[in-house]
C-alpha cells in the first residue's frame, strides 16, 4: 500500500525538495558584484538578515499583515461558511461557485481593480468628493490597509470552503438538541458548534496564514514602493540586486518563520480544544 505514494513522493522530491536543497546551498555562498557568487559555506547571509533592523521590520510587517488577514478571514468567513454548510443542496452548488468566483480572476487583474477603486482619482475618492464629504483625496492606495483588504479578498474563499466542509460534518441535530435544552443560538454556537469546528478553524487558518505570509502581487501593487513584505523583498534581492545568496537566505528565513508560527498556532489551538 505504501507504494501508492511513490509517484507523488517522487514528484515532490524532484520538483520541491531538490530545488529547495539547491536554494539552501546557494544561501551559504558569498555575494560578489562581479562574479555573482563565490562558493562558500558560511552563515553570513542569515546573520546579516536577522541582525538588520530593516529586515526585522519587513518580517514584522509581513507577520502583522498575515495575522490580521487570517483573523479577518475567520471573522467574516465563519458565518458565511455556516450559512453555506446549512444550505439546501439545490442552491448550494451556486453558492459554492459564487464563493470560488474571486479565484477565477488572476491576482494582478484583481489588484488592478482595487487600484481603480482606491486610487487618488479612483471611484471611492471621486464619490466622496462628488458628495462634498472631502475636498482633498484620501490616501487609500499604497497603504497597509489596502494590502490587507486586497489579500483578504483573495484568501477568504479558502477559509470559507475549508470551514464549511468541517461544519457540514457537524450533525444539525446537535444544534437542535442544544436549543431544546434551552441554549440560545449564541450559546449553542459557542459551546457546541465552535468546539466541534475547531479542526476546520485550524486548517483554514493555517492555509490562509501561509498564503498571506507569501503574498507577492498584492503587496507590490497595492502597497506601493514604500511598503515591503518578505516575498517582494526576496524577489528584490534575486532580481534587482542580483544577490542570490542573500535572497536565498531571506527565502529560508521566511519559510522557517512561517512553519514555526503555523506549528505553534495549531498546537495552541489544538490544546485548548482538547482541554474543552
Amino acid at each position: 500500500m505504501a507504494a501508492l505514494i511513490l509517484p507523488a513522493g517522487l514528484l515532490v522530491l524532484l520538483l520541491l525538495v531538490a530545488p529547495m536543497a539547491m536554494l539552501f546551498r546557494i544561501s551559504l555562498n558569498e555575494y560578489s558584484p562581479t562574479q555573482l557568487m563565490l562558493e562558500a559555506l558560511q552563515p553570513g547571509n542569515y546573520l546579516r538578515a536577522l541582525a538588520d533592523p530593516y529586515y526585522q521590520g519587513v518580517m514584522g510587517t509581513t507577520m502583522t499583515v498575515a495575522l490580521s488577514c487570517t483573523v479577518i478571514c475567520l471573522i467574516i468567513g465563519f458565518p458565511a461558511a455556516w450559512w453555506l454548510a446549512r444550505m439546501d443542496s439545490k442552491q448550494k452548488s451556486l453558492a459554492v461557485i459564487l464563493t470560488v468566483f474571486p479565484l477565477l480572476v488572476g491576482n494582478v487583474v484583481r489588484s488592478a481593480g482595487w487600484m481603480a477603486l482606491l486610487g487618488r482619482d479612483g471611484a471611492i475618492n471621486a464619490t466622496l468628493r462628488g458628495l462634498g464629504i472631502i475636498n482633498e483625496p484620501l490616501q487609500l492606495l499604497y497603504t497597509q490597509g489596502a494590502v490587507i483588504v486586497g489579500i483578504v479578498a483573495v484568501v477568504a474563499p479558502y477559509m470559507i470552503l475549508t470551514l464549511s466542509a468541517v461544519i457540514e460534518g457537524i450533525p444539525r441535530n446537535l444544534e437542535e438538541a442544544a436549543a431544546n435544552l434551552g441554549a440560545s443560538p449564541l450559546v449553542a454556537f459557542r459551546r457546541v458548534v465552535l468546539p466541534l469546528a475547531v479542526p476546520g478553524v485550524v486548517a483554514g487558518s493555517v492555509l490562509v496564514f501561509i498564503l498571506c505570509m507569501n503574498a507577492y502581487a498584492t503587496p507590490v501593487l497595492l502597497g506601493g514602493p514604500q511598503f515591503k513584505m518578505m516575498a517582494p523583498a526576496v524577489y528584490d534581492q534575486f532580481v534587482r540586486g542580483t544577490n542570490w545568496p542573500f535572497g536565498a537566505a531571506l527565502a529560508f528565513i521566511l519559510l522557517v518563520v512561517t512553519l514555526a508560527l503555523t506549528v505553534l498556532g495549531s498546537a495552541v489551538v489544538g490544546r485548548r480544544y482538547k482541554a474543552q
Binding site: P33, T34, Y54, D121, P225, Q226, V239
Partner: protein
C-alpha cells in the same frame, strides 16, 4: 508504391526532420521587452530587413530583470535560450562582467562602422539612446527649471515625483546636485534624504508616475527624454528641460550570449538593427535617437528628441564599472533609508 500503415508511420516520424533540414537555419530568438519596443523591432527589423534575407526571428518577450536572471541561470549550460539579449547599458555592463556575451566586432557587424563612437562597447551593439532630463508641467511651473537642483526647491514641496525602479538614475541625479559625479555618488545620500523631507512622491512604475503627472498630483520629475516625448504625444501636460548639470545618456543595447545556438543569425540581426532604415522607426514612435550617424531624422522630430550641440557636449556617460560596484550599496540605501 503502396502506402501501408508502416510506411505512413515512418513518413510521419521523418517529416519533422525533413522540415528541419529544409529550413535555412533555426530562428533567431530575441530576448526583448514587449509593448512598443517589441512591436517596433518586428516591424522595422524582422519583417522588412531580415525576412527577405531568409532570417526568421522569434521574440522572447519579458521584463529586463527576469531576462538578466535567465542569463545568469543559463550561464553554465551549453545551449542557451536566447540568441539576442536586449538590456539597458548599465545592466548590459554588469552582465558582461559575468562573461556571458560574445565579443562584437565590426567584421561580423559591418554597420558598427557608423555607430557613434562613445556608444560602442566590446560586448554589445548600441541600439537606441536617449538622455536623462527634467520633465515638468509648464502650466504649473512657468519658468523652465535650469537643473536637477530645482527639484529640491522648497516651493515644489510635495510636487516632485520619482519612479522607484529608476533608483539608480535618481541617485545619480541627486549626486550631481550635491556636487558628486558619475564616479562619486556619495553626496546623493544627503540630497535624497533632503528630497524626502521635502515630501517627494514615489511611484512604483513609469505608468503610475505618468498618471500622477496627468492628474497634476505632481509637477516635475527626472525621466528619459524619449519617454517625455511619448508622454507629451499621449496628452500628458509635460515638457522637458535639459539639466545644466549635464544630461546623462541611456543606451539600450543588444548582445549575443555565448551559448546562443544561432550566432550567425544573431550577428545578422545586430547588423540589421543598426541599419539606418530600422533606426528611424524608433525615433518617430518611441522618441529614441539613432545610434548610427548615417540615419537622418526630419528636423522637427530631431529637435524634440535630440540634444543641441551645446547640450550634447555636456552629455554624461555613466561610469559602468563604478555603477556595477556600487549598485548593491545604493539599492540598500534607497530601500532602507530613503524609502524606509
Amino acid at each position: 508504391m503502396t502506402i501501408t500503415r508502416r510506411t505512413a508511420l515512418g513518413a510521419a516520424l521523418a517529416a519533422p526532420l525533413i522540415g528541419r533540414a529544409n529550413a535555412q537555419a533555426a530562428p533567431v530568438i530575441v530576448g526583448t521587452w514587449g509593448g512598443d519596443y517589441g512591436e517596433l523591432l518586428a516591424s522595422n527589423i524582422d519583417v522588412p530587413i531580415l525576412r527577405p534575407a531568409g532570417v526568421e526571428v522569434q521574440q522572447d518577450v519579458g521584463p529586463q530583470d527576469p531576462r538578466k536572471t535567465k542569463l545568469i541561470a543559463e550561464r553554465q549550460s551549453r545551449r542557451g535560450t536566447m540568441d539576442i539579449c536586449c538590456l539597458s547599458d548599465v545592466d548590459m555592463y554588469s552582465m558582461a562582467q559575468q562573461d556571458v556575451f560574445e565579443p562584437i566586432t565590426q567584421a561580423q557587424v559591418p554597420n558598427l562602422a557608423h555607430a557613434i563612437p562613445t556608444l560602442k562597447r566590446p560586448y554589445s551593439a548600441p541600439h537606441i539612446y536617449s538622455a536623462k532630463v527634467i520633465l515638468y508641467n509648464p502650466a504649473k511651473i512657468p519658468v523652465a527649471p535650469k537643473g536637477y537642483a530645482d527639484l529640491w526647491d522648497p516651493k515644489y514641496r510635495g510636487r516632485v515625483g520619482l519612479v522607484d525602479i529608476l533608483y539608480l538614475a535618481n541617485t545619480e541625479a541627486a549626486a550631481l546636485v550635491g556636487g558628486g559625479s558619475e564616479t562619486n555618488w556619495g553626496p546623493a545620500k544627503g540630497k535624497l534624504m533632503e528630497l524626502r523631507r521635502n515630501d517627494v512622491k514615489l511611484y512604483p512604475s513609469n505608468e503610475a508616475l505618468a498618471a500622477a503627472l496627468k492628474s497634476e498630483e505632481v509637477w516635475m520629475t527626472i525621466m528619459w527624454l524619449a519617454r517625455g516625448f511619448m508622454w507629451k504625444k499621449a496628452g500628458i501636460p509635460v515638457t522637458h528641460a535639459v539639466p545644466e548639470e549635464g544630461a546623462t545618456s541611456i543606451t539600450f543595447e543588444m548582445s549575443v550570449p555565448k551559448n546562443s545556438r544561432n550566432k550567425e543569425g544573431a550577428m545578422k540581426y545586430l547588423n540589421a538593427a543598426l541599419d539606418p532604415r530600422a533606426q528611424a522607426g524608433f525615433a518617430d514612435r518611441m522618441g529614441y535617437a539613432p545610434t548610427v550617424t548615417n540615419a537622418t531624422l526630419p528636423p522637427e522630430l530631431a529637435a524634440q528628441i535630440t540634444l543641441n550641440p551645446a547640450q550634447q557636449a555636456k552629455l554624461r556617460t555613466p561610469d559602468y564599472a563604478y555603477t556595477a560596484a556600487h549598485t548593491a550599496e545604493y539599492l540598500d540605501f534607497w530601500n532602507k533609508e530613503f524609502k524606509g
